[in-house]
Subunit: 387 residues, 2 copies
């Protein structure tokens, strides 16, 4: 089997664990932070930049790639790996989050741009307004065409519309999961010679409600899929909410499967929380997005009372490089960072200038730093677990 | 002396020549195409990208850097070389072109944003509208603070306002040159220990008028400066105009000095024209600007009737990567290009997708290709001259 997961070591104090995830495109040392390449590129970064930053596995997004350039176009071009020049492990998100959170909502809470029914989602493209319809089965086919190593079941990300709706969305997600699994099994069994196997992960939803989360875990976990994800806005929102949401379902999980916390990693503290909660994989667009907005991570892990905490002289663990205080600052973003931007000696003053001037080079140098920062943090915590 | 120029070989058929320019920051094999880093960065490219593309010498712009972050700030940060992380030869343009072409013009032809008098230029910053005044002497001091290896005299780029004005602007440029030289000599003689010498180039102006061009050459050449530049809109506008403008003054030049054609290199044909006209150095923002607009160079030098010509299946020698025909094109931009983008195997289809999606990665990959293309063209022509 080309896909497997082994837990190498468990932390004695927390639920953190170190392991190895094997995929048809190589091994991943877990826990791992996965940079997000929504539209077929991690914003401002090349695959070589990502390798140099220590990225082991990256994400694509089925919804965006279906709309442009099209999953069939990517298949004709040799699949997403070849298309974007990334030969390592790759995961695609199903786009459930995108279609269920599209655009503005009407007064009755319905989205103007998408309409969800029990069979699937009808939505208008954010690119040209054209109408599209996707079912759970379609999304599995799209992800087969893209060819990622790990694919996600189509889900309805719980919208902020109360518990009654959260339950409805969760139940729909469960029915969709069944259909996703069926289509996935068919495609796996009948896949062409030379086509890589793909691992399907199911997603636990249920919003920020303990009973729904547990109900969802009780449904998703017994499906016996190669991996389990926890999704929804309450995951990754804050370290405490992430910890709490995982706590609610932890006893229901099977621990020989990788646990993927979706959308976690806005701040360094979120990474610590995710790993201590037992996450093996997590992803977030925030490190690159924040970089583009001028927010650069800074700080260190400190061991205090046998507890690892992230400490920084900057609020939220990041400096705002646009601040005038950096105008003449000769130091790199962080002396001991080890990212290309810091090693190469680009000063805060230079980054401040590039940011103020909206120079394209800024976005790359800043994104390299923030991505490497989250990956290094994860590497350090992995080392701590292994020791 | 840390600055020298040697002609290694002259072409038998044209005025093309190969040489070596020595500067305090290293040697430059001429003829050379110089990428432009207006605001302290060649747009979308890092110094390492430029090195990998074969760039030997790059430009900064005194006007932009004076306004932001300020030449004094850059001096405090160790000079422009250190600021931008480029340890090779560096040239700064004086900003004459910028201040004399600022903004819109009133009905009487006067610029609204700048006012030129015999003593200097008063202008409003394009950043915040603040009023500034620069004299030829100021601009020499600014360039001393930036610390480039080659600096340019402050000139009034001939505006498109008829011959009478062209003459007036040229005469002013000549008076400013005298003052620039005086200030430069003072600064060179009194430069601090450890400060690199700087070579000042004078600029021949006179617009698209043969008699004025000759008059300007007769004034500028005898100043006996380390290099001579030819500026103005008629240089670089088209291969024919470039050839004609250089022809007009060629017999008046001293040929042991490097000849710099300012702003040449929009299309590959312009590079051929510049080199065959006798240019040792030339620069242009177009390769990176065109890249950002989706125009990627494609084509080859062909020898026909002992004459080198650039041939391409695309009009103007460049493809428009936004064209739908590239949507499923698996080929690199140009098979035998040798730039990172082409070698790494990024397909036209991928670049098309990134361009359509406005992904930041596009701008870097496209700029690398176009810059490398102009540099490779120059390298090939240099080899032809040496053989």
């Amino acid at each position: 089997m080309k896909f497997s997961f082994t837990v190498t070591r468990k932390d004695s104090r927390t639920r953190a664990r170190a392991g190895v995830l094997r995929t048809p495109h190589g091994k991943v040392q877990t826990p791992v932070f996965m940079p997000v390449g929504t539209m077929g590129a991690v914003k401002a970064l090349s695959p070589d930049d990502l390798k140099a930053a220590g990225a082991q596995i990256i994400l694509g997004n089925a919804y965006y790639l279906y709309l442009r350039p099209g999953d069939v176009a990517i298949q004709k071009l040799g699949g997403l790996h070849r298309f974007m020049g990334w030969d390592g492990p790759l995961l695609t998100d199903s786009g459930g989050y995108q279609v269920s959170s599209l655009g503005s909502f009407r007064e009755d809470g319905e989205s103007i741009l998408s309409r969800i029914d029990d069979d699937g989602v009808t939505f208008r493209s954010h690119l040209d307004g054209s109408e599209h319809r996707l079912t759970p089965e379609d999304v599995i086919v799209i992800q087969r065409n893209l060819g990622a190593d790990i694919i996600m079941a189509f889900d309805e990300a719980t919208p902020p519309r109360g518990k009654r709706y959260a339950q409805k969305a969760m139940e729909r997600t469960h029915r969709w999961l069944k259909r996703s699994i069926e289509r996935w099994r068919e495609l796996q069994e009948n896949r062409g010679r030379g086509a890589s196997p793909q691992a399907l992960f199911g997603i636990i939803q249920g919003g920020n409600y303990k009973d729904l989360r547990r109900e969802s875990a009780e449904f998703v976990v017994p499906q016996d899929l190669p991996g389990i994800a926890i999704g929804g806005a309450s995951i990754g929102k804050s370290p405490d909410e992430t910890r709490e949401n995982v706590d609610w379902v932890y006893d229901l999980l099977v621990h020989d499967r990788p646990l993927y916390l979706m959308g976690v990693g806005v701040n360094p503290q979120d990474v610590v929380a995710a790993i201590e909660s037992g996450a093996d994989l997590f992803d977030c667009v925030a490190p690159t997005r924040l970089a583009r907005m001028g927010h650069l991570y800074f700080g260190k892990l400190q061991l205090a009372k046998r507890k690892w905490a992230f400490e920084s002289e900057f609020r939220k663990g990041r400096m705002n490089i646009g601040n005038a205080r950096f105008r003449l600052d000769k130091k790199p973003i962080q002396e001991d960072c080890g990212c290309y931007t810091c090693i190469r000696g680009f000063s805060r003053a230079y980054l401040h200038h590039l940011f103020k001037s909206r120079e394209l080079l800024y976005y790359r140098l800043a994104s390299i730093h923030n991505v490497r920062f989250m990956i290094r943090l994860t590497e350090v915590l992995r080392k701590v677990i292994l020791e």
